[in-house]
């Protein structure tokens, strides 16, 4: 049987992009029977294939009729074919006018649910554009709905722009493809806002036409609900637009503050009135009301695509928006941070809460709207210069320094700072990525830090030689170097700790991770800061002697200031962490001696390979030098055999116990130094809980509790994402 397939019916499909393909004429010959007969001769498992086609290629084939891989399957299910906007209107499935308020409210809430689902990483085609009303908003007669639809376009556009500008997303965070939907760029921002304003003003007025007693309570409530939604949309759009602007950032953010509180107020009303919307109480995986068709864009999707998009329930989506506003509020606080180091801490702290992609992006574009202008005004290089000056006061950066008159010196310092701009820019940007991606990026960043360290040392060396020849000779060794080292070490610590947060390490790996943190990283951090501290004091002394007697008063002030240097606190914190890590390390060695840690079968395992893999990113650095596995073994063995006497596991538990005790004391001291409302206080309290609990557990162990039990201890990260509570079962 031969069939000729001539393609003629191109008419009803409208603008058909693939029409040229359809005109290809095939001469189809039925080979079904022949084919099925022929394959019986193949052996079990034998593949008849082209020479160039291997199993490797075969792996990437999508399997048809597998519900997990085959999107097209869904399109043929059931009879209700997805219909276009026009078809839906013609068949009266879609009302364009005389919508009840409750219907409009339902559509608005569902659309926000779609927007939120989009923000959580789904494609626009499967979320927002399943709303048929958005396909041709100009056809809608109902004014609030039409205006809302236009506003949605603008909101999507601005969100997309902000996220694209910040560039802190990966495919799993955000899909920016718009599938050919035009985002109404011809309507200006002012126009949209005035349109929304108009609707907003009309809504209450309508109610005045009818005498109040005629209007039922329900209708009145619905009208209020709709009003709140339109007003929310307007303010939300204004906020997005203000935060995304490069110019007059400070002023915009101040305005944002007012808008944010108004917007939060509105979203509260919206959340309270969510039941005014049609079918709000039905639970379904996607909007279940008029105007939404989850299948409408199914054929736009690429063949390999996450198949099922579950749209968030309305109420959850609205709550998400409420929290989004709170996150925006946090983002605006960045302007209160003095200096780069405070800003960096702010970025890191913000990232720890795993914020959504939109707020992450906003923080990026608010702080660095253009690559080298902080808040759009300060030169990023100058901000970094201030940071270095406050950190260690390099003589060359001090106000009266004559070193920069040497043009070679100036050139070196400028070039160094411009490289810093690049590196610290990427460090800030890195904190905007999702937590899992950050780890990858931290590892790569260390390579750049290695290069910058080298440059810092060379600049220091040059300036040192120059400074010794000047009228006021001062050492310039390891100034910039210490500053960069300090940041390198912080990145290293972040890298190791992120492995706990992402649950990458097995329990039998914990001991060398904690060992590295305890023996080296935190120790080096403390010594880097201490060096900076001494340098700052020298600088103070230098200043005082220079100023002579006339400024005795200011000298006394300075002294007061130097005793309350913020470093004391930072040093204290790092020492506390060092002790916590030491506590874990010793406890873990104890557990090993008691056989309480499950080890992998030895033929398939090499601890050296694991160790080297975990610490691989550190190998590119010269300072601090990487510590080799052999050293780890030697030092750990030394722990176990002190001065020829056999160390028992109890002794190790006791040593760990002491570490946690010390950590606790330090943390308590730190707590007394912090302002009560600082965000660090929560962190300290969490760490305190960890230190106290582990102290008790190790004390029990040291007293021989459950000595004979081989039951492995449980490491519970519920209290702190990096430092677990040790639990015995």
């Amino acid at each position: 049987m031969a069939t000729m397939v001539e393609e003629q019916n191109l008419v009803d499909m409208g603008e058909d992009k693939e029409s040229q393909f359809d005109q290809v004429t095939y001469n189809w010959v039925d080979i079904t029977q022949e084919f099925f007969d022929a394959i019986t001769e193949l052996e079990l498992g034998e593949l008849l294939r082209d020479e160039l086609f291997g199993l490797f290629e075969a792996m990437s084939a999508i399997e048809m009729m597998d519900p997990k891989m085959d999107v097209g399957m869904l399109c043929n299910r059931g009879n209700n074919k997805p219909c276009t906007f026009t078809q839906a209107v013609d068949s009266c499935v879609l009302k364009l006018d005389n919508l009840t308020q409750s219907e409009v409210i339902g559509i608005i809430d569902s659309t926000y649910a779609c927007i939120v689902s989009w923000l959580e990483g789904h494609s626009l085609a499967q979320t927002v554009f399943t709303n048929l009303y958005l396909h041709q908003p100009n056809q809608i007669v109902d004014k609030p709905l039409r205006t809302f639809c236009y506003a949605v376009y603008k909101i999507i556009e601005i969100i997309k722009d902000c996220i694209n500008k910040a560039l802190v997303f990966e495919e799993e965070d955000f899909q920016s493809v718009t599938y050919g939907y035009r985002l109404q760029q011809d309507i200006t921002e002012q126009k949209i806002i005035s349109m929304l304003k108009e609707v907003e003003d009309e809504l209450p007025r309508k109610s005045r036409i009818k005498p109040i007693h005629v209007v039922s309570e329900k209708e009145y409530g619905d009208r209020l609900a709709l009003y709140a939604r339109i007003r929310f949309t307007k303010i939300f759009y204004q906020i997005l637009s203000l935060m995304g602007k490069k110019e007059q950032l400070q002023q915009n953010l101040n305005e944002c503050h007012t808008l944010l509180s108004r917007c939060s107020y509105m979203i509260q009303i919206v959340i309270k009135t969510v039941n005014s919307g049609e079918k709000a109480d039905e639970i379904s995986n996607y909007p279940n009301i008029m105007g939404f068709d989850p299948m409408v864009n199914q054929r736009l999707l690429p063949p390999t695509f996450p198949r099922y998009t579950k749209i968030k329930p309305r109420i959850e989506a609205l709550k998400y928006l409420d929290e989004l506003l709170n996150r925006f509020r946090t983002v605006t606080m960045i302007t209160n941070q003095n200096g780069f180091h405070a800003a960096l801490d702010f970025f890191l702290e913000f990232s720890r809460q795993s914020p959504c992609i939109l707020s992450r992006s906003m923080l990026q574009i608010v702080y660095l709207p253009t690559t080298n202008r902080v808040f759009g005004v300060q030169n990023f290089a100058d901000v970094l210069k201030d940071a270095a000056r406050n950190f260690i006061a390099p003589p060359v950066l001090m106000p009266k320094s004559t070193l920069l008159q040497n043009h070679q010196a100036k050139e070196y310092v400028d070039s160094f700072l411009s490289h810093c701009v690049g590196l610290f820019g990427s460090l800030l940007q890195l904190t905007g990525h999702n937590r899992a991606r950050q780890r990858d990026k931290l590892a790569h960043l260390l390579d750049d830090f290695a290069i910058l360290q080298d440059e810092a040392e060379r600049v220091d060396g040059f300036l040192h030689a120059l400074s010794l020849k000047s009228d006021t000779p001062r050492s310039h060794l390891a100034c910039f170097g210490t500053w960069i080292l300090y940041h390198t070490l912080r990145v290293m610590v972040m890298y190791l700790l992120s492995g706990f947060e992402l649950e990458l390490y097995s329990v039998h790996e914990y001991h060398y991770i904690f060992w590295y943190l305890y023996e080296f990283l935190y120790g080096w951090l403390v010594s880097a800061i201490t060096r900076a501290n001494t340098f700052l004091m020298e600088q103070d002394v230098h200043n005082d002697t220079h100023k002579g007697r006339g400024s005795k008063k200011s000298a006394r002030n300075k002294k007061k200031k130097s005793t309350s240097r913020p470093y004391n606190l930072e040093i204290l914190m790092y020492q506390a962490m060092q002790n916590i890590c030491g506590g874990y390390y010793k406890a873990l060695v104890g557990f090993r001696m008691d056989g309480k840690i499950l080890l992998p079968e030895s033929p398939f395992d090499s601890e050296r390979v694991r160790y080297e893999h975990r610490l691989l990113p550190f190998s590119s650095l010269l300072t601090p030098p990487p510590v080799h596995y052999q050293e780890f073994l030697d030092m750990t063995n030394a722990q176990m055999h002190k001065r020829n006497e056999k160390v028992t596991s109890e002794m190790l538990y006791l040593a760990g116990c002491r570490h946690f005790h010390q950590a606790r004391n330090m943390l308590e001291r730190a707590l007394s130094l912090y302002l009560p409302n600082s965000s660090t206080v929560n962190e300290i309290n969490d760490l305190l809980k960890v230190a106290k609990t582990n102290f008790v557990v190790l004390k029990l162990l040291a007293d021989g509790h459950k000595k004979d039990s081989k039951e492995p201890p449980v490491f519970d990260f519920s209290c702190h994402q990096h430092f677990p509570l040790i639990k015995l079962i």
Partner: protein
């Protein structure tokens, strides 16, 4: 570790090559027929009514077929194609197979 992995890959490839050459010399007519269809366009109708058109790349005893550069049509008289790329159609879902002669 790495070297070991590579080595096993090579032997695997060799095995396939040998197999292929051996098959070439003394192949049954049925296999030759199948081989003759390789890289030609097939049009496969599936149990759910969809039609797939693509280049025939591979099959096995259970009639699982792999098509390259494949397009999907929702039904036999549907004209709007959707590009799928490389697909595998399980034999049990194949209704008819047509060859572009």
């Amino acid at each position: 570790m790495k070297e070991g992995h590579n080595a096993s890959n090579i032997t695997n490839d060799d095995y396939i090559h040998e197999n292929g050459e051996a098959a070439n010399t003394e192949e049954s007519p049925a296999k030759q027929k199948l081989r003759g269809w390789l890289n030609r366009n097939l049009r496969i109708k599936m149990t759910d009514g969809r039609v797939l058109i693509g280049a025939f790349l591979c099959t096995d005893r259970d009639a699982n077929v792999i098509l390259g550069s494949c397009s999907e049509f929702l039904s036999e008289d549907h004209t709007e194609a959707r590009t799928l790329g490389l697909v595998m159609i399980p034999g049990r879902h194949i209704v008819t197979i047509h060859l572009d002669a």
